[in-house]
């Protein structure tokens, strides 16, 4: 049997660290296989990928033990430039991998470096553009593409180099639901085409999309392989939950039903799950769930009236948006990449102002055109998706104190705010730590703490759980829920429909600069047509229920509601 990748007794220690990032990895990947490497943040997935193409240790110094052979080539004996002919790696942040000024040139960049004949390069570029569905966008500036398009471009750039092995580091993490489906289809094409070997890392949120695609899964935790095997078997064994990656909602539901005594099998397959549910509920009287979400009914904090916004480049990002946000609301703001969500948030915090004279943004009844930014941010503030964009100090306590100090808090008020945030976000152990060395999940908590410390009444949080493992994601959402109970109005911008369904009382759907739907979460998610227009899908649990005729009308938003339906089931 031919192995595309053979990893033997591989351990990795980064310079300056005592802890091993990877420990005794033994793994063989067959040629043409689609392998999933699944693990929480910090488990070593990316380190393993970057070891395949030699970036570790050539560019990121580290001590290696063991061996890695890719496509018959020993990675420890060759430089990155040579290994790129055998293995391509697409990282999880596409915009950092885009180097050229146009889409076409970016795709051509890789093969141009390989010393190929010009005709061959042009043929490969055309093919890669076609497979990635970027035809027609050749002259676009890569940095102005949507997130999904950038991801497709990053993939096209590696595809054009035609390596037999391609590895993707969390390829779906930045994408909206339809973007995820598009990229997964692309990955399937890549895998089937020319029997290419595909390796994909996954930290949990996109398992619903990636699990059906994998031939085999390897589970990592703390740098060690803890399990390996068939995806269905691993899912059924519960190992994904144990390592902290989490499971698709359908899997957890079935597991919970087993604990209630129902004869079902754990699976991630929606069709199989639906048929099992159909059998369980057949002829039974079902329970109901307690309606737990109530939209905010308090005073209006933010009001937008016919807001239009045209960027200097000519792109009209908002096309007449009107909405009200009231005290106590917990809102999910959803929409595909490029639909205008972040632009809307920038108007809410006063960074941007409407470009049409009759457009108004009112914060606490006052027009933001007549307010200073500092006044607005006392009431409304925004947490960036990427924590690094908002961390300016060296140490954690200084960082949290920064906002209150700038806002004019007294030293004693600042100290109290810092202590409160360290406790609320469980950052006490990191008080004196240097921010540069913090892991991603801690930075995310810190970025939230910095804004909450300034005491806004309305908090806009951009993708609060992207890139986080299950445990930290839950922690973040629980904190936001708690803040909401304490009176802070929360708006969550997210592509994670399961999260929005579980926590948000109200959902606003944006599409192409307009608000397509705005109402209670249940009503909005039940409107398939509008969601389809916006390239979105309802939470998996709702979709599963819709596949079962007896459960069709429930429109459950979360696992908890689903379990209430089954818990109340009678004969």
């Amino acid at each position: 049997m031919t192995y595309a990748v053979e990893i033997r007794d591989y351990s990795l220690t980064f310079l300056g660290q005592s802890r091993k990032a990877l420990k005794n990895i033994n793994l063989k990947v067959r040629a043409g296989e689609v392998l999933g490497i699944v693990g929480p943040a910090g488990s070593g997935k990316t380190s393993l990928l970057l070891s395949l193409n030699g970036v570790i240790p050539n560019d990121i110094p580290a001590l290696q033990e063991g061996s890695i052979i890719v496509d018959g080539v020993n990675t420890m004996e060759h430089d990155v430039a040579i290994l790129t002919k055998h293995v391509g790696v697409v990282l999880d942040t596409p915009d950092t991998q885009l180097l050229a000024a146009t889409v076409y040139d970016d795709v051509a960049f890789g093969p141009s470096n390989l010393g190929l004949a010009r005709d061959e390069i042009l043929r490969r570029v055309e093919r890669a553009l076609e497979v990635s569905r970027l035809k027609g966008k050749e002259l676009r500036n890569p940095l102005q593409l949507s997130g999904g398009e950038q991801q497709s471009l990053a993939i096209a750039g590696i595809l054009a180099m035609d390596p037999p092995i391609i590895a993707f580091d969390e390829p779906l993490s930045m994408l909206d639901p339809v973007g995820k489906e598009t990229v997964i289809k692309l990955l399937k094409n890549i895998a089937r085409e020319r029997n290419r070997t595909v390796i994909i890392t996954e930290s949990g949120p996109d398992l619903e999309y990636t699990l059906p695609f994998f031939d085999r899964i390897v589970a990592l935790r703390d740098g060690e392989m803890v399990a390996e095997g068939d995806p269905e078997q691993l899912v059924a064994s519960g190992v994904l939950e144990i390592i902290g990656v989490g499971e698709p909602q359908v899997t957890t539901l079935l597991r919970n039903l087993i604990s209630q005594g129902h004869a079902v099998r754990v699976t991630a397959n929606m069709d199989f799950a639906a048929s099992q549910l159909s059998e369980i509920v057949n002829g039974r009287v079902l329970g109901s769930f307690r309606e737990r979400h109530n939209a905010g009914v308090g005073n209006i904090i933010l009001k937008m009236e016919n807001v239009r916004y045209v960027y200097p480049s000519g792109v009209e990002a908002l096309k007449g948006v009107s909405l009200e946000i009231r005290d106590g609301d917990m809102i999910g703001l959803v929409g595909s990449n490029g639909s205008g969500k972040t632009t809307l948030c920038m108007h809410a915090v006063g960074v941007l102002k409407p470009t049409n004279p009759d457009g108004r943004v009112l914060v606490m009844g006052r027009d933001t055109k007549n307010m200073k930014l500092k006044e607005i941010t006392r009431h409304v503030n925004y947490v960036y998706q990427i924590p690094d964009n908002m961390l300016f100090q060296e140490r954690v306590d200084d960082e949290i104190a920064f906002g209150p100090r700038m806002m004019g808090f007294t030293p004693s008020e600042t100290r109290k705010a810092v202590d409160a945030m360290l406790e609320l976000f469980s950052l006490g152990d990191y008080r004196d730590s240097y921010i540069m060395h913090l892991p991603r999940n801690v930075k995310r908590l810190l970025s939230l703490a910095c804004i909450v410390a300034t005491g806004p009444s309305l908090l806009l949080v951009d993708e609060p759980t992207t890139g986080l493992d299950r445990k930290t994601s839950e922690k973040v959402m629980n904190i936001l829920e708690m803040l909401n109970r304490q009176g802070v109005t929360i708006v969550i911008i997210s592509h994670n429909m399961e999260l929005v369904g579980r926590y948000c009382k109200r959902v606003i759907v944006m599409d192409n600069g307009r608000i397509l739907a705005d109402g209670p979460a249940r009503e909005v998610f039940a409107d398939d047509e509008k969601l389809r227009c916006a390239n979105l899908r309802p939470p998996q649990i709702m979709r599963l229920f819709k596949m079962v005729p007896q459960l069709l009308h429930y429109n459950v938003l979360s696992l908890e509601e689903a379990m209430e339906v089954f818990s109340g089931m009678g004969g």
Binding site: A81, T84, T93, T96, A101, V315, T343, D388, G403, C450
Partner: protein, 282 residues
């Protein structure tokens, strides 16, 4: 990526079909360097203004976005305090090589300042100040059309034909990526700072310096990270693995050759006259 990506369309190449876009990258490089060097050497406003006009004309031909020129206005405003200091101190007629000493030392106007007393602005100081105020904006004016009309790939294509080492090309690539990304990141960081209540809000230099420290810190950290990321991204795409194959056969046309010869001749002549006849100096 969203709103910052859309806002910061500044100092980035855009594909257009203008006369200047169609010129060979080497031609544009030579023209830009010629104007750049002359703007750096000249001090006489009578020589700087024609360069500015040429820069403006080329920018017009290349259809450089008008909003790019707002940065030039900003820089000119920023330079004013330094210009004022220079104007008040550049009074020694011996510093001037071309203009008659009687002229440069003649007072343009005088003003009495508290504590300091009577301060005079001479014609020499004024000329110096004007040149200082104009040179950096003029340099930018010459660079804008080059950046706007020349894609990095085309430049690498062109330079690789002349066997420019790939390490130098890599530096060029980082610089090309560096500039627009720096602009975007600076805007993002400033917005994030302002959302935390940051504002300069003082004329006290010490306070201004302290206020800008977080921005500087965050920017340096971001740029160091960016250089790492560009390096990794380029290496993953086999940069330096082999001889680079240009995908576009950019041939020099007759017009390109004429412009290159003209530019180089002008440059050589101008430098010669500057050093032998002090042409362009004050």
């Amino acid at each position: 990526m969203g709103w910052v990506g859309e806002m910061a369309v500044f100092l980035e190449y855009a594909h257009r079909d203008t006369f200047y876009h169609r010129l060979h990258p080497i031609t544009k490089l030579v023209i830009t360097l010629t104007l750049f060097i002359l703007a750096g050497l000249y001090w006489d406003v009578r020589f700087l203004l024609p360069i500015a006009l040429i820069g403006l004309l080329i920018s017009y031909i290349a259809k450089v976005p008008a909003r790019w020129f707002l940065a030039i206005v900003g820089i000119m405003v920023f330079l004013i305090p330094f210009v004022i200091i220079g104007v008040l101190t550049q009074v020694n007629p011996l510093l001037f090589k071309v203009y008659p000493r009687e002229f440069v030392s003649r007072e343009f106007f005088t003003v009495t300042l508290p504590v300091i007393g009577k301060v005079g602005v001479t014609w020499g100081g004024l000329l110096w100040g004007l040149a200082f105020e104009l040179r950096i904006p003029i340099i930018l004016l010459c660079i804008y059309p080059f950046i706007y009309s020349t894609s990095f790939n085309d430049l690498v294509n062109a330079l690789s034909r002349y066997n420019v080492p790939y390490q130098l090309l890599f530096i060029l690539m980082v610089a090309y990526r560096f500039v627009p990304v720096t602009v975007r990141e600076t805007m993002t960081i400033i917005t994030a700072l302002r959302l935390r209540g940051w504002e300069v809000g003082s004329r006290n230099p010490k306070i201004v310096f302290q206020r800008f420290l977080p921005l500087a810190f965050a920017l340096v950290r971001t740029l160091v990270k960016m250089i790492d990321e560009v390096n990794t991204a380029a290496r993953i795409r086999a940069f330096g693995a082999s001889k680079y194959t240009p995908i576009r056969q950019l041939e020099m046309q007759t017009l390109d050759r004429i412009l290159i010869v003209f530019s180089l001749t002008l440059l050589v002549l101008a430098v010669y006259l500057l050093f032998t006849q002090n042409m362009g100096l004050i």
